[in-house]
Point group: C2
Amino acid sequence: MYGRIGKITAVAGQRDALAAIVLESTQAIPGCLSYVVATDSAEPDALWITEVWDSAASHRASLTLPAVQGAIAKARPLIGRFGSTVETTPIGGLGLQKAAA
Amino acid sequence: MYGRIGKITAVAGQRDALAAIVLESTQAIPGCLSYVVATDSAEPDALWITEVWDSAASHRASLTLPAVQGAIAKARPLIGRFGSTVETTPIGGLGLQKAAA
């Protein structure tokens, strides 16, 4: 498995609009086992995205999907800055769904 | 929903033993919607635990369960240090299972 933990800070006041765009694009993407969008309890403009994929290749491939590319284009003007993204190797737990074909 | 993103660094060489203890304790805990244990791709002794709960109260309650308390006691000698834990409010995504009753 391949995982990512990343923080995105929206342009001031645009966090919820940014979250809505990100959530719209996360519908049964091939190889995606978990994809959770969360607001930060302490920073009003920040979002956390935690992802689990069956492989890094599936994650890379997702970035070429029209739905994802459309979301990235819509989201870009709402993004203030990206925090550093941690890459992980998930080893187990709860809430890892079967990958969509 | 209530979420946590936390990093734990194991005593050198004990990461996998620590991960096994953590994973053992995460079986259908009431209110837990997602709980993923992952190794860090860059730091050999580090684990990331990303959690989604139906409420902060369910998370707090889980810490009093005998299985979880037992796991904490077994894990403690293997923990080198805790990183800062981010508290979040998950708003949606994929892989959020129904809470166990």
